[in-house]
């Protein structure tokens, strides 16, 4: 017995462990997203409870998530992939499918680590802001969405998170809602990225139709099918449109510098390190499926290259720290897109190393710019000097980051730059573009560190207050990380980037050998040359700015100006259109309705062209009685008279005549009940009219002038069409089974001989009840309208 029992217990224990493991595996990735969402939703409430200590629980979330994703490092480094699926709308292929591979993990770690630092930084940066709770709500929401984006395996899932990042970016750019500039910039960013998002959705759907799969992992397997599909080019173009708007590629780059209206931590996080890289991420994710064609190569290298050049040129012309950084970010994003376009093994490596290096140094520089702004109250380059004394830590961080940006050994930026040059060695044009960016980056790096902090100048920029700890610590950590990862490049970052590189599929299986020192190669020579040229450029920067004022008129016609002009045009157009359509004139609404109806009828008549054969109905004319004809002409004569009369009383009497004539027709054609009602009601109408007549205005004749003929034409057209329809229906009369049913059963079932009455009070009794209710409501309305007299003090 004993051994069996032991075995049983062990089996149960194993089972429990297995189930628990499975459960954890299934729920965790979704739980990470949910944790972010819950924190985001709770942030305003927590702020109300905890005041400035709200930062503790809010910062705890990215910390937990960061540690959690770190736990995935060992399996992912061995090449494993964690997946998870939660069915949402399985019939449409819309599922929450998550997949954690090297590329996703790289981004996930970047997002959570950066998120942690930015949240800490913001607690000082926005210390006295009464809306801090809301700020954390937006920021955490963004972080969660970004995490979801990089973890998604399902295209719809990715699109959902993609859009949430756009919306949270909108909310964060417009955070200083009192400033018009911020609102305009937020709106612009949302429109540009949102329109791109729509294109992306269309592109992804077309792609999934071509491939027959809704997941990225599934798409990879059917590459050949996709490349040869008719839909390849439209899908590619639409997806590229989405990615280019998101990653601020030329000509959609203009929203990014404007987005600098956001608080600086937001600029550092969204508009430099993470969100703008979403486009690059998606392109990298899709490159195993879409890359390798001439179109892909050409579009990406040309657009990316143009963006690099324009970003670098514009960066040198600005004097606002954040604007300079924004344009260099555009340039850097262009470099990444170019690398994706080249698609060689070197390019893939260069992309990943440069991406990581860029996130670290650019994030640092943004945060430092924020600290400087916060402490001195200005971001204007010429007003800032000799800040190295009072802001030592910030100066140190800026210098470390600038060294990385300039590509100095042994920083991570050096590795990135070397690889960038290596990848573009074969193409002299791209190499030049690359060099140009490199030189500009060196000059900007010098501006950001030497110029602001250490340059000897006449006097120090006064500090309004000393920077708080959390304004210094996060940038310093990032800058030191850039140094540490650079020094240990082969050991620490390389294995993870190797796994991320596998996802790109440039040349699968290729081992990445990355070291800091390659010896005195051509590329190293180019690096040194870049540094030298950058130094020269920095010295001649004032000249460059002077010359660049010549370009000012060009900006009048740049994409930004074009956007504003289009935007205004659109608003004007919409307003004019609405005023035209909803002009407040009853008759134009009626006219449009009637004309549309006539148009539809005419179309149907033209399409089916049903002829009317009147010859068969001559016998009906022979049956006609004289008195019927008399009544009919009476009606027509009355109508003609009505058109001409100017007297109210005459009009009312003539109306009564027409109504009574209608009643006569009911009698003639076997509807005595209808006729009785009609007579009664016509009498009542005339009575009401006459009773109220003395309270109505005199019947001034208002003519339509020229419009009159338009109205006459429409009326005659409508009358003619109705006549035609009636003749047509008469010709194709359908026997009614209802008639037979009521004829047979009205006495048998309801014991009434007048079938119409039986229908009204018995078969359809409830309808009659409704009718009575309507009359009662109308009576109430009439009564209150008659009694109401606001001129005597009644309230309407």
């Amino acid at each position: 017995m004993q051994p069996y029992a032991e075995e049983g217990t062990q089996a149960i224990l194993l089972y429990i462990r297995y189930q628990a493991k499975k459960y954890i595996e299934i729920t965790v990735m979704l739980a990470a997203i949910l944790l972010g969402l819950v924190t985001a939703a709770a942030a305003p409430l927590l702020y109300r409870w905890l005041g400035k200590w709200v930062v503790v629980p809010v910062a705890l979330t990215p910390l937990l998530l960061f540690l959690y994703f770190c736990a995935f490092l060992p399996p992912v480094l061995q090449g494993q992939v964690a997946t998870q699926q939660y069915d949402w709308v399985p019939a449409l292929g819309i599922n929450l499918q998550f997949r954690l591979d090297g590329l996703s993990l790289l981004f996930a770690l970047l997002i959570t680590f950066f998120g942690l630092l930015v949240i800490l930084y913001s607690s000082s940066y926005l210390a006295d802001d009464p809306l801090l709770g809301r700020f954390y709500l937006y920021l955490t929401l963004f972080m969660t969405a970004m995490l979801g984006l990089v973890l998604s395996d399902n295209i719809f899932c990715l699109f959902l998170f993609w859009e949430i990042t756009s919306i949270s970016s909108y909310l964060l750019i417009g955070y200083k809602q009192a400033e018009k500039e911020a609102r305009v910039a937020a709106w612009q960013a949302l429109l540009v990225t949102g329109l791109g998002g729509l294109a992306l959705m269309a592109g992804l759907i077309i792609l999934s139709i071509a491939a027959g799969s809704y997941t990225f992992s599934g798409l990879v397997g059917v590459r050949d099918q996709v490349l040869n599909h008719v839909f390849y080019l439209p899908a590619l173009l639409l997806i590229l449109l989405g990615c280019f708007t998101k990653s601020a590629q030329f000509p959609f780059h203009f929203w990014l510098p404007n987005a600098m209206a956001a608080p600086t931590p937001v600029s550092a996080y969204l508009h430099s390190a993470t969100m703008v890289k979403a486009g690059v991420y998606l392109l990298a994710r899709l490159s195993p499926v879409l890359a390798g064609t001439q179109a892909w190569h050409d579009i990406l290298t040309i657009v990316g290259g143009t963006t690099v050049v324009i970003g670098a040129l514009l960066a040198l012309q600005h004097t606002d720290l954040k604007a300079i950084l924004a344009y260099t970010t555009i340039s850097a994003l262009g470099l990444m897109v170019t690398m994706l376009g080249i698609g060689s093994a070197y390019a893939g490596k260069a992309l990943l190393f440069f991406l990581l290096a860029h996130a670290l140094y650019k994030g640092t520089l943004f945060l430092v710019a924020g600290s400087v702004d916060h402490s001195t109250g200005t971001r204007e380059l010429f007003k800032l000097q000799r800040l190295g004394g009072p802001m030592k830590l910030a100066g140190l961080a800026a210098t470390l980051a600038a060294l990385s940006m300039a590509g100095v050994i042994p920083f991570l930026g050096f590795v990135g730059k070397e690889l960038l040059y290596e990848a573009s060695l074969e193409n002299i044009g791209l190499l030049l573009v690359n060099m140009m960016a490199g030189v500009a980056f060196v000059a900007v790096a010098l501006l950001m560190s030497y110029h602001v902090f250490w340059r000897r100048g006449p006097d120090k920029t006064p500090l309004q207050h000393a920077p708080a700890l959390f304004l210094n610590l996060p940038p310093l950590i990032l800058a030191l990380l850039g140094l540490a990862l650079g020094a240990t490049v082969g050991i620490v970052p390389a294995p993870l980037l190797q796994q991320a590189y596998q996802v790109l599929g440039n040349s699968p299986g290729a081992e990445m050998k990355v070291g800091l020192w390659h010896g005195f190669t051509r590329v190293f020579g180019l690096s040194l040359l870049t540094l030298l040229l950058g130094l020269l450029l920095y010295n001649g920067l004032n000249r460059v700015r002077e010359i660049s004022t010549v370009l000012a008129p060009v900006y009048k016609y740049g994409p930004n100006a074009l956007y504003h002009r289009l935007f205004e045009l659109f608003l004007h157009g919409a307003k004019a259109f609405i005023l035209k359509l909803q002009n407040g004139y009853l008759r134009s609404y009626v006219m449009v309705t009637m004309l549309f109806f006539c148009g539809l009828m005419l179309f149907m008549l033209w399409r089916d062209s049903p002829g009317i054969d009147l010859s068969k109905r001559v016998y009906q004319l022979q049956e006609m009685r004289m008195y019927e004809l008399v009544v009919m002409f009476l009606v027509i004569a009355a109508l003609v008279f009505l058109l001409g009369t100017r007297s109210r009383l005459t009009s009312i009497v003539v109306m009564g005549l027409v109504g009574y004539a209608g009643a006569l027709f009911y009698i003639l054609f076997g509807a005595p009940d209808v006729a009785a009602t009609q007579l009664l009601i016509e009498t009542l109408t005339v009575l009401i009219f006459v009773l109220l007549l003395h309270k109505l205005p005199a019947f001034t004749y208002v003519s339509h002038q020229f419009k009159k003929y338009k109205f006459i034409a429409v009326s005659i057209l409508f009358g003619a069409i109705m006549t035609y329809v009636m003749l047509l229906v008469q010709q194709q009369a359908q026997p009614s089974t209802l008639k037979e049913y009521y004829g047979d059963s009205s006495y048998v079932l309801a014991h009434g001989r007048n079938i119409v009455n039986v229908i009204l009070v018995d078969f359809r009794g409830l309808d009659t009840l409704g009718e009575i209710t309507v009359l009662a409501v109308a009576a109430l309305g009439i009564f209150s309208l008659l009694r109401l007299n606001p001129e005597k003090g009644d309230k309407p």
Binding site: L586, I681, A778
Partner: protein, 117 residues
């Protein structure tokens, strides 16, 4: 007669629509009434008309004997006529009220006054 009636009803429709497009509120109401009448007659005609015989079961019969008029359009018409009356009388009272408020029954003047308010 059945062949001529459509022309009369068509004329009713045309005149009714013309009055509805008029800018004097009084005429718009007249137009509404005419249009309503035309619609009722239209329904009556389209439902199929039978001369002379009403939809009543004769004494000592259990079921209606042909020819008798189709009772279904008539039942519908009765409802329509009564509801139409409700609308008409409400509209008549409404023009009085509009005149009280705006001192005009010209729709264009009323609209302009609305813009300036």
């Amino acid at each position: 007669m059945e062949t001529l009636l459509p022309f009369m009803i068509g004329t009713l429709f045309a005149v009714g629509l013309y009055f509805i497009l008029h800018r004097h509120l009084f005429k718009v109401i007249l137009g509404l009434i005419l249009f309503g009448l035309a619609t009722n007659l239209f329904l009556f005609l389209v439902g199929g008309i039978t001369r002379g015989s009403s939809a009543i079961i004769r004494q000592h019969h259990e079921v209606a004997a042909e020819p008798f008029a189709d009772p279904v359009p008539q039942a519908l018409l009765l409802t329509a006529v009564v509801i139409g009356f409700g609308i008409q009388s409400f509209a008549i009272v409404l023009i009085r009220r509009v005149y009280q408020a705006f001192k005009s029954n010209n729709l264009d003047d009323i609209r302009k006054e609305n813009d300036t308010r």
